[in-house]
Structures are given as C-alpha cells and as structure tokens.
Symmetry: C2
Subunit: 279 residues, 2 copies
C-alpha cells in the first residue's frame, strides 16, 4: 500500500493510497481521511461508497466532509467505484463497466475476472485498513446514488459489522429500476435469488428487526432520477411494515448532485458519530 497523495485538510490528512487488489485483480486507489485524533488513539471508521462515473476523488473534493470527520474523529475510507486498468472489461455506457461496479461480485463474462466489488469492499478493504490505520472496532457506512445502494446493501448483509447506515439519493430497489436491472443482467446470473442478495429492499424483508442498524436516507425532491431510478418509498414501505428504525428525509428543491450531499453531509456525520462513539 503506497501513499500517492496527502493533503492537509481541516487539521487532518486527506490521503490517497494505491494498492494491488487481489480481489479485483488490478491496481486500485483508495482515499482515506485520517483525523488528527488518530495520531493518539484508535478511531472509528466510516466507509463512503460513491455513485456512477465517480472515482475515489469526487466525494473527497466536493462534499466538504473533512470538516466533520475531523470534528468527530472519524477515519473515512472512500474506495473507487469499480476495478480499473487497461485490461479491465468496460462498456461505452456510463452505467455499466468502469465507474459502475454496483458493489456486486460479477458471475458472468467478461466481468467476473475483475468486477468483485462486494468482496473488495467487505473483505479486502477492511483488512487493508485495519492493517494500516489506527482504527477501533466500530464502523458505519454511507454512500451516494449507486453508492447509496452499496451502503444499504452491504450494511444490511453485514448488520453486525456496522453501527449505522446512511445514504444519499440511493438506489434502494435495484431489481425494480432500470439502472439496477441493466447492471444485474450484465454482471449476475439471471436468477432471482442471486439478484436478491444485492437488493436492499429484498434484504430488509428477510432481516430480523433487532439486527438492523439505524438507517438514515437523504433524498432531494428535485432529483431527476427520483421517480424512475431511486423510489425511496419502496424501501420506506418495507421498513414501516417491519418497524425498522429508518429516517427518510425528503428535501424540497434539492437535486442529485454533490451540492446536495455537501449541504447535508454534516447531519450524516452527526448521525453516525452518535452510534460510533465509545459510550
């Protein structure tokens, strides 16, 4: 693991690391914010998963989250959104291939040799972070759009691993919307049980309520993808039926952009900090 960038930011360090991923079979960049508190004591962790077309840089350049990561003493890990490199399969469309890994383990050709993002984020990355940073045992997860899907899905599949889950503008029911159907059709066997493993709404249905971490979802009402791709009401309906601790904030006039994320990222850090604190 090699540090390739290090920017002083709000008293902490915004780092970018390069490493060879065995899981993805390629070299990857991962952004890590290290608050000053981590110099003297172990800190909790927040994973941030980004959306379609993003790399590890969008969130760290555009959300201004570092102010809050430093304030609450949280190490933040923001991986890239897909495997990278010249020998990695790709597609001309923005919503398939590079920049569009959808956080699944692909089973179909030509994707399966590199597109193992689920295992990368849930197995390889946590080990890498544990080996190289001063973390304690607590972690939460968040993300935006496709990364909101990733955060909810990974959080719900590993509820014991996360103190809290949040998402912005998330794809909450990928099996029911065009983005999800297209990606799952390309990456995964055409098999309902295979698809359900990566669908947050389906996962929520199958979970025992006491196991589910607190969930916060932020959604702009002027989001151009709201009605066709995001549909938070599907997830909300299941959560309500089961009595899940879900807060869904619907924000008038806000769209799908990082201006929206930047506006409310502080509230999400406050939410996670409550569950990540030692007490």
């Amino acid at each position: 693991m090699k540090q390739i960038e290090n920017w002083q930011s709000f008293g902490g360090e915004q780092q970018i690391w390069e490493h060879t991923s065995d899981t993805l079979n390629c070299d990857m960049n991962v952004a890590v914010f290290v608050p000053s508190k981590a110099k003297t004591e172990p800190c909790p962790l927040l994973y941030w998963l980004s959306g379609l077309t993003c790399t590890e840089k969008n969130f760290i350049e555009k959300s201004g989250y570092q102010r809050f990561a430093e304030e609450y003493g949280i190490i933040v890990v923001a991986p890239d959104t897909s495997p990278r490199g010249d020998d990695v399969a790709d597609d001309d469309a923005y919503d398939l291939g590079k920049g569009a890994g959808f956080y699944v383990n692909a089973t179909l050709s030509p994707w399966q040799s590199h597109y193992q993002m689920y295992d990368y984020v849930t197995l390889e990355l946590p080990k890498l972070i544990a080996d190289n940073f001063n973390i304690n045992q607590k972690a939460s997860i968040s993300g935006h759009s496709m990364g909101g899907h990733g955060a909810l899905m990974i959080g719900l599949r590993n509820p014991e691993a996360f103190a809290s889950i949040s998402a912005f503008s998330a794809i909450v029911a990928p099996m029911q919307v065009p983005w999800g159907k297209k990606a799952f059709s390309a990456y995964l066997d055409n098999n309902v049980s295979e698809w359900q493993k990566y669908d947050s709404t389906e996962l929520l249905k199958g979970l025992d309520v006491p196991k589910v971490p607190p969930i916060l979802i932020e959604q702009g009402l002027a989001d151009q993808f709201l009605a066709e791709q995001l549909k938070p009401e599907i997830f909300e309906s299941v959560a309500k039926d089961k009595g899940i601790d879900l807060t869904l904030n619907l924000r008038e006039s806000y769209d799908h952009s990082y201006y929206f994320v930047a506006t409310f990222i502080g509230e999400h850090f406050k939410f996670h900090a409550k569950f990540l604190s030692d007490s």
Copy 2:
C-alpha cells in the same frame, strides 16, 4: 444574461449564468450564489477570483463556501479567469492565455482584443450584478493564487469600493516573481509604471493608510509555490512599515490546494461579514 445552471445548496442557490461580455468580446460564464435572504432583502456582495487553470467552477465545487454565504447572507460572484472561445488567443503553457488572464487589461498583441479582465471585473461585472441581483451597497473581494493577486490588486486600486479584502496563497508581488513577470511581459507594455498598476505591493506603497480596507491573507507553509512565486513577506513588510491593517495567517502543513481553501474559507467569510454588515 441567461441562467444555465441552478443548484440548491445550503438553503440558497448556486447559479451559473452565461452572458456576452462587451469588454472581453466573447461569451462568458459567471457563477453567482444567491442566499435565501436575498429573496426578501438586499444583500452584500463578495467577489471571488480564482487561480491559474480555473474556470468559474473550481471554487463553487471545491471550497464548500456556500455554507457560509448562506449563513451570513452574502451574494457571491465568481467569474471565469480569462476570456473564452475559439477565437480567443491562447498559449500552450498553463500560466499564459486561457485560464490565466491575471486580471489585467492587455495592451499587447495578440492578447489585447479579448484579455481585458481588469475592466471586466471592475466595470462590466459589477453593473451586470447590480442589474440582476438584489444587492445592497457593500462589497468585498477575495481570491486564490492568481486570483489572490487579483483580489488584492483590484481591492487596492479601488479601496472605496470594497469593505474588506482577503486572499489565499496570493501572488502579492507579481513584478518580482516568475508567474507575474511572464504574464506582464506578454500582456503589458514593457513599462514600469504600467506593471506597477497591477502589482499589489507597489500599489500598497502608494496608498494613504486610512483609505486601505482591512486585509486578511491566508498562506500555507507547505505550499510548493511559496518561496518562488508568492512571497507574502514582501507585502507584509510594506504593510508593517506603513501601519496597514493586515492579518497574515501562516498555516503549518497546508499546501496550495482547494483543501487549504476549504479549511479556512469559513474564517474569511466571518472576516468579510464583519465589514459587510449594515451596522
């Protein structure tokens, strides 16, 4: 003047406008943040001038300033850094031509037909803003790097127009450093008095102390351009000799990037808000 983007941000609106500039003889984009307060009452203005290679987008995407513009009720105007378009002269170097207007009125060929950034920022833009936004009579100015030079220089040439001046990582003495010498040689007649009109340190020497607005300069000590291009001590020395109200904050470990700007932009808004308030 045509609105081409409008993003809800921290309760206000981050807009981008396109207009045909008579001064620059081309179409220009300008970013304007309108706080919610401007719906009901006239608000003060802050001009932000960006640095080399930037457009109107860098500051609005990377600094997170909207949080403070909304908090203090300040309209923020961030123009592009040079004329634009296929018929505008350019240079292969990043520090000359497009993205490198240096906020001067060029007198030499091939630049003089479009590169009139001083007049654009000080004459055309204020009129455009006054005609289209709910502003009051108060304005301040700030900027980064080449835009820090622009903010100091324009502020000191028009001290009655600005309540306060601030800059990040500024070129404070362009006549004495490579960036400034190169740009002034290309754009301006080889004439000391012509160059002095655009050199903040020279301008400061010639000003009556009571006329100078309060000045705040932020400088990272790990800035790769500090020793060769920025040299804030030159400006500080003149300010000290004259008894000028200058605060120069030297920040250990911080570099030249927008991570630095984002970290301290809130303090600069607080500084300007003090002088922009009605009382």
